[in-house]
């Protein structure tokens, strides 16, 4: 059988499987308001996706993944898209950050132990990186881990830990040699958060949300077998994981402008539109189809134009990397640009909405306005989390441009 036939068979089999296994209530997501999905639907869909490894479609089968080739993966995404659903979500930190790092640096036992539980959705992960005294200067982290028999005993604190209050396990950077130069005394370790000595306090942000936590450790235990890579060699792993994080952040920002299918497809005849401009119409008014405020109109155009260029650059970088290299230093560029773009979009929306964008909650404002306002405040963190914009510029200067230290 030639490759094309194999892929066609794969698609047909997949269609049948989706038809039989994807709960009706989870399809055609936007149109389906009558038949809103129940908890059981989500659970059944997760179970079905996980049984085939589709929650982590490209991971090897022996670690619970789907074992799909790039081509099969694209077919999976197309078919999922076709019926208007999404793959059941599992731990984001597991699939996008820890998993790839375990594949590269983990022991066979670690891969077998931890990856299937990410795929199945059994374990939610969080990332123990930043500390109160170690933000941009991450390598100066002070959380200590001391070997005691078969365990490491951990003391210290992590901050800005996204979703720690909903997480089961943490992958964590700890100092295992306080006397070595700062990059050489760090280890990468995994441990269970459900144990005595772990205190998790959500942090209230300016946006009124608390998706970040501070986590305190008092004689917390991590099994020695959960040390990933060599002792004191955690910084290399930490950096690699940050590359994965940057790639994820640059692709996932809400106005961070992933290339939309319409833009990247070659022969689409649908007229181009700007969601931002459309939403500005009621606020700015229009004359002959043109937004009334010429300066805001120009700013929206500049935003859309940059967003288009950014999407195309992501696309180009993907094509260039087809050779199969991991995300390179260019991930810094995309992380930088996506966060700055998202902040810019939010500022623009605030200008457009005028006083309608000043609501905090309750009546007098549309849900969309309230959402944008909270989003505006939240977006300020985009250029801080996952490495500040200044840190990304440093990385580009050093790794891409080769500028001297």
């Amino acid at each position: 059988m030639d490759e094309e036939t194999i892929l066609e068979n794969f698609r047909n089999e997949l269609r049948n499987w989706l038809e039989a296994n994807c709960p009706k209530a989870l399809r055609d997501s936007a149109a389906n308001t009558k038949n809103s999905p129940r908890q059981e639907d989500h659970a059944a869909w997760l179970k079905a996706c996980a049984s085939r490894g589709y929650t982590t479609p490209t991971w090897p089968k022996e670690y619970g993944g789907g074992g799909l080739s790039k081509e099969e993966h694209s077919i999976l995404l197309e078919e999922i898209d076709r019926i208007g659903t999404h793959i059941a979500p599992v731990s984001f930190f597991g699939t996008s950050m820890l998993g790839p790092v375990l594949l590269e640096f983990g022991s066979e036992a670690q891969k077998k132990e931890h990856m299937p539980k990410i795929t199945s959705g059994e374990i939610q992960w969080c990332q123990g990186y930043s500390e109160p005294g170690a933000g941009s200067d991450l390598a100066s982290l002070q959380t200590r881990a001391v070997r005691q028999g078969n365990d490491f005993i951990i003391n210290g604190s992590k901050i800005w830990t996204t979703g720690a209050h909903h997480a089961d396990w943490m992958f964590c950077l700890v100092r295992t040699d306080p006397n070595a130069p700062k990059h050489d005394g760090i280890s990468f370790i995994l441990f269970d958060l459900h144990q005595p000595g772990v205190t998790i306090s959500p942090l209230m942000l300016i946006s009124g949300q608390s998706d970040f936590c501070q986590v305190f450790f008092e004689d917390v235990k991590a099994k020695a077998e959960n040390l990933v890579g060599e002792l004191n060699a955690g910084w290399t792993i930490a950096k690699r994981l940050l590359q994965h994080e940057r790639s994820m952040l640059s692709g996932g920002m809400p106005g961070g402008a992933r290339p939309s299918k319409k833009e990247s497809g070659s022969q689409k005849a649908t007229a181009p539109r700007s969601y931002l401009a459309e939403s500005a119409r009621p606020y700015l008014g229009e004359e002959g189809g043109q937004l009334n405020d010429p300066i805001l109109r120009d700013q929206i155009a500049q935003y859309e134009l940059d967003s288009l260029c950014f999407g195309l650059s992501l696309q180009r970088s993907g094509q260039e990397a087809k050779a199969g290299q991991g995300p390179g230093a260019a991930s810094s560029m995309f992380k930088l640009y996506a966060s700055e773009m998202n902040k810019r979009r939010s500022e623009l929306v605030m200008s457009i909405q005028g006083a309608s964008g000043l609501g905090w909650e309750g009546e007098g404002f549309t849900p969309g306005e309230l959402f944008e306002t909270r989003g505006w405040l939240r977006s300020k963190g985009n250029s801080i989390e996952g490495g500040t914009s200044e840190v990304q510029l440093n990385v580009i200067a050093k790794r891409v441009l080769g500028l001297p230290d």
Partner: protein, 379 residues
């Protein structure tokens, strides 16, 4: 189409880079400027480029062309941008070739196109009359006469008009300046009675002229395309040339960025390389991102024309706006980072800055194209 170069395109890029840097390095432009060369480039070298298939790059094989596309033209223009090669690609290989190939009748095609492909015909397209680009603001008129037209009016900033073998003139045959309809194109010999071509000394040292048409009598065979429908042809000419300019601006940006980066790695002040200063590092990293983003949109716009995509004018405008802004910014930063030496004529930065400004303004600057981008996007 992929946003990475194909093997053939890559090969073309290599050949172009080698040929242009050997035969038309930036010292070539300097020599043309300093000797006040009447046409600003070497006709012999243009013929050599013709032998490589470059002058007829957009033309069909039957007229001696190499029948490639905008993607390939972009590769050439990018290399021209890197050394500021002052060759008549835009006037002849893009505008002239496109106007005749799309609008000309068989006789006009066989009279003109083989000469473009062989490098023997230089064609200047006279469209602009006002300092700020407005595609249809044409008041030069062609009024009917017994067996043809009488052309009168003025054109300015006509590229490569000095020493040109043919002129293509956009003139109004009905309507008012600004109307899209009512423009007609004419193929005119520059030696015709009543035509006065006056060289203008431009900041970028390129061949450019004012042309006066004082009741020039032309016969009806000079009409290119349909009467009053010249904008149909003109739009295609503008579209290709705008995108070609974006490719050239991208080439300039790349070159000047690389030169500046090199300077940051070699220039010492305060006992250390200036590239160690974070104030400069961050700006360099930022410029790198701008250049990368520009690269993507330029590639996309070139390909969109080749693929004849609907709504591609959005991509073309985005490319020109982006490439103009990036080139301008990279040049300004390059000059600042070079310090005093950057202000001297001896160092090339000024030459790049001058050409970038000319290319930026040609066929609409970034605000013109942002406005058009918004229009096409429906706001």
């Amino acid at each position: 189409m992929s946003l990475v170069l194909s093997e053939e395109q890559h090969l073309l890029k290599q050949t172009a880079a080698e040929f242009i840097s050997e035969h038309s390095p930036i010292t070539h432009l300097r020599a043309m400027r300093d000797t006040a060369d009447p046409i600003g480039f070497s006709k012999d070298l243009w013929k050599e480029m013709a032998e490589l298939g470059w002058t007829g790059i957009l033309l069909p094989e039957q007229y001696g062309g190499s029948e490639l596309g905008m993607a390939e033209l972009g590769v050439l223009l990018e290399e021209c941008g890197r050394t500021l090669a002052p060759y008549p690609f835009l006037s002849t290989a893009v505008m002239g070739a496109t106007a005749i190939a799309l609008g000309g009748n068989e006789k006009q095609k066989s009279n003109i196109l083989p000469g473009i492909s062989s490098g023997e015909q230089i064609v200047a397209v006279a469209f602009q009359e006002n300092p700020r680009f407005a595609p249809y603001a044409i008041s030069t008129s062609a009024r009917p006469s017994d067996d043809g037209f009488i052309l009168s009016g003025q054109k300015a900033w006509v590229w490569d008009a000095c020493g040109a073998d043919q002129l293509i003139v956009a003139a109004r045959t009905s309507g008012e300046p600004g109307d899209r309809r009512g423009i007609s194109l004419f193929l005119v010999e520059p030696s015709c009675q009543g035509i006065a071509i006056t060289k203008t000394q431009m900041v970028d040292s390129r061949n450019s002229a004012r042309i006066e048409f004082d009741d020039v009598i032309i016969n009806s065979e000079a009409l290119v395309g349909e009467l009053n429908e010249g904008a149909e042809i003109l739009d295609a000419v503008y579209e290709r040339c705008t995108t070609a300019l974006a490719a050239e601006l991208f080439g300039i940006s790349q070159e000047i960025f690389e030169r500046t980066l090199e300077y940051l790695k070699t220039r010492e002040q305060f006992g250390t390389l200036i590239g160690t200063f974070q104030a400069l590092k961050h700006r360099a990293a930022d410029l790198f991102c701008e250049v990368e983003l520009t690269h993507s949109i330029v590639l996309e716009a070139l390909r969109a024309i080749d693929e004849d995509r609907p709504y591609r004018e959005r991509l073309v405008s985005a490319a020109k706006a982006r490439a103009s802004d990036t080139a301008s910014r990279v040049c300004r930063e390059a000059l600042q980072m070079h310090g005093g030496i950057g202000m001297t004529d001896e160092v090339d930065i000024g030459l790049f800055m001058k050409r970038a400004k000319a290319a930026e303004i040609a066929l609409g600057d970034s605000s013109f194209h942002r406005n058009r981008f918004a229009e096409v996007t429906g706001f």
